[in-house]
């Protein structure tokens, strides 16, 4: 064994970075920022599903997206562009690169769907294609620059499965998939920016076991054996569960830079949100399955 290990830890944020984000400094409210972050993650997760990417790549993409907006303002960079750049880059990082054409098609479709526009297929190689493609190239580069090329993301999926095995919960009919879903939902929060993956893995298991009324070893407490603090576990669980109390008014949120200012003035797609049909958000982020998903040993 060599003495020196690879440094695989995720970049975490300082308190200042977390509280005073560039968007907040740019006059965007906490709630607006939360919505736009959730929107980007929502897009990335759904695009990943359509592109048949492994969940680990979607997770990497969402974490990159979240990190990016601690370095840049949502007034200057569009959710659409940065989420496309994040998916494109994450797919490379996770060794499952995708083609521009597929990426652009999927995003064009999702954006229309989320804004409740007619779902005409995008004409092949028309202006939209080139606009979105160029935006992706620029966004990818911007992400790399703003994150100092620190795009290696450690995700908790494989760790969580190991912990489930240790706790002999893998055969439980509900807990594995439920905990997995919590991991996915948690991508929309700041937990991946604040905590290292093993702690997050403990927290989702704790939450799932709580829900399923499954008692886990208490003396010593199982999480202590896995080197996590109860305080962190509860905090992470709080972040995840608070998501379910914050509806996301998707159809009123801006995808492009042109839509941002009207949105901030409360004028974007007003009718869509108040009139009929009701503005919609699609289903859970947790819709990927634990089964058949590649769990990378690097995740």
């Amino acid at each position: 064994m060599s003495q020196v290990k690879l440094s695989l830890q995720n970049a975490l944020l300082t308190l200042e970075q977390l509280q005073q984000t560039p968007s907040r400094e740019d006059g965007i409210t906490e709630e607006q920022e939360d919505h736009l972050r959730q929107l980007g993650c929502h897009l990335i997760q759904h695009a990943g599903i359509l592109l048949k990417l492994p969940q680990v790549a979607m997770a990497t993409g969402q974490i990159l997206f979240q990190r990016f907006f601690y370095q840049a303002s949502l007034r200057k960079f569009a959710v659409r562009d940065i989420s496309m750049g994040s998916v494109f880059l994450a797919a490379k990082v996770e060794e499952c690169p995708i083609r521009f054409l597929d990426l652009v098609n999927v995003f064009d479709h999702l954006i229309k769907k989320f804004h409740r526009l007619p779902l005409d297929p995008m004409p092949a190689y028309q202006q939209t294609f080139y606009t979105l493609k160029d935006a992706t190239v620029v966004a990818e580069m911007q992400i790399l620059k703003k994150l100092s090329f620190n795009v290696h993301v450690q995700t908790p999926y494989a760790i969580m499965i190991n912990y489930l095995k240790v706790l002999e919960l893998m055969d439980h009919p509900i807990i594995p998939q439920l905990a997995w879903s919590y991991l996915n939902d948690g991508l929309r929060t700041s937990i991946y920016i604040c905590y290292q993956p093993p702690t997050i893995a403990c927290s989702v298991i704790w939450l799932a076991a709580m829900k399923e009324n499954v008692a886990l070893p208490t003396s010593p407490a199982w999480w202590e054996v896995l080197d996590a603090k109860l305080e962190d576990i509860e905090n992470i669980a709080g972040h995840i569960t608070s998501l379910y109390h914050r509806p996301l008014p998707i159809s009123t949120l801006p995808f492009t830079i042109e839509q941002v200012e009207p949105y901030l003035r409360g004028e974007l797609n007003k009718n869509a949100s108040n009139g009929s049909p009701a503005a919609a958000a699609t289903g859970s982020l947790s819709s990927t399955s634990i089964k058949g998903t590649r769990v990378s040993r690097f995740s």
């Binding site: 509280q19 490379k92 990082v93 083609r99 620059k145 859970s284 040993r297």
Partner: protein
């Protein structure tokens, strides 16, 4: 011409977006009011159980001191370029000075023009391997800096006085055995770290091994590095500069392992001992011929599966059954020869690992490895003029710049006509 699957590989492609939409959304979009994530229920149950109110959305930040913190790339203007060290096929390396600290560094400029797929995946691998792999014998990357345009990206590394190719070409006599042991131990320990972490270097050769004036090797040039072990289909081919390329790669193996790096290290070992390359061929066919002449013709007995390799049937049955390694290394001890034979073992599954090689008796027999601080010093070429990269280049396609028309071993094409040896009947 084998093409690089990395740059050309077609991503998973939804047949058509609309076909796909239905199965993905198991539930139709809900109204805003009723919108909830699917995993909502447990929380409420949990709250009921715990008898608590809805959790507050608050952020508590754990200690972050020990973790890297997000920062942006700085500008290349923080460095003053002094001179070009090398102009390889894939990028230029400069010697430069940090304008604030005055420290001398090396800047490697990535070639990013004509990118068809955004930022090249190969450069991405190079950078993140370097950022991750911190080891006393892996070149230290300080940061990545950017120029004025989006295509100017530089890797800032500690400046290392020599690369071993350039250094050895100027040496009148080979390294001493005590020095060879030190260099090999350093190279193997860096490789062990990489392999333990499922990283293949895939381009180990003397010009990618830097040596400072304290007798320390720094493995560099991760331009072909790749994680492996994931179910990720067929790995790229070809990799590894011809002279250091293992027989399984030459014979078209589709899957390969850390053993390809060990073969390269075996070739480097012999080069340290003799001060000349072990197997300098000009074409893939000649390369195989040289290997077979040196080590004897392999067969299914010593290398199970050999005859099933894609190109094995094209190899004429060669009448040289003997291992002649000893004759090329007359002065090496039995232990030294044993280690080298284990590195140059045909069957990749039986080739020695870096971990085991480090424990080989060769390193504990006399003479002991020389302490690095006792190494002689040589004037650094980096402080003088730029050199054109005259050594064979790594296969071009694999560097992934979208220019695949040129034969990977373009430099050696002429050899296909000249070689007097057998040719692959491909």
């Amino acid at each position: 011409m084998p093409r690089d699957p990395d740059t050309l590989r077609e991503g998973p492609r939804p047949p058509s977006v609309d076909d796909n939409m239905t199965p993905v959304y198991s539930q139709e979009p809900e109204d805003q009011e009723t919108y909830r994530h699917r995993s909502q229920t447990p929380v409420d149950t949990y709250r009921e159980q715990a008898g608590e109110a809805a959790p507050e959305y608050h952020i508590e930040v754990p200690e972050t001191e020990q973790h890297p913190v997000l920062t942006q790339c700085r500008s290349v203007e923080n460095y003053e370029k002094l001179n070009r060290i090398s102009e390889g096929t894939y990028g230029v390396v400069y010697r430069a000075r940090d304008r604030i600290t005055g420290e001398i560094v090396a800047l490697k400029k990535l070639k990013l023009d004509q990118e068809k797929n955004g930022f090249p995946i190969t450069s991405l691998r190079e950078i993140y391997t370097l950022l991750l792999a911190k080891h006393p014998h892996i070149v230290n990357v300080r940061e990545i800096v950017v120029g004025d345009t989006l295509t100017q990206i530089f890797i800032v590394m500690d400046f290392i006085e020599h690369d071993l190719k350039e250094l050895m070409s100027g040496m009148r006599s080979p390294f001493l055995q005590s020095e060879v042991k030190t260099l090999m131990l350093q190279l193997l320990s860096a490789t062990e770290l990489l392999h333990e972490n499922w990283i293949l270097h895939r381009d180990l050769k003397t010009s990618n091994l830097l040596l400072n004036n304290k007798g320390e090797i720094k493995v560099a040039d991760f331009g072909l590095a790749r994680r492996y072990g994931e179910p990720q289909g067929v790995l790229t081919q070809p990799v590894v500069t011809l002279w250091y390329r293992s027989p399984e790669l030459l014979l078209g193996a589709k899957q390969y392992t850390t053993a390809v790096d060990i073969w390269s290290i075996g070739c480097i070992f012999a080069e340290f001992v003799n001060n000349e390359p072990l197997l300098p061929a000009r074409s893939e066919a000649e390369q195989l011929e040289k290997i077979f002449k040196l080590l004897g013709m392999p067969n299914d007995k010593i290398w199970p599966g050999f005859s099933k390799l894609p190109l094995a049937s094209h190899v004429p049955n060669f009448v040289q059954p003997y291992n002649l390694l000893r004759s090329r290394l007359p002065y090496l001890t039995e232990n030294g020869l044993d280690l080298m034979s284990k590195m140059l073992t045909y069957d990749p599954t039986r080739r020695i690992t870096a971990e085991d090689a480090l424990k080989h008796p060769y390193f504990s027999e006399a003479p002991p490895p020389k302490h690095p601080s006792m190494f002689p010093t040589w004037p650094s070429k980096g402080e003088k003029t730029a050199k054109k990269n005259a050594s064979p280049s790594a296969p071009q396609a694999v560097h992934g710049h979208g220019q695949d028309e040129e034969e990977a071993g373009g430099l050696f094409n002429f050899a296909n006509q000249e070689s007097t040896g057998f040719r692959l009947k491909v």
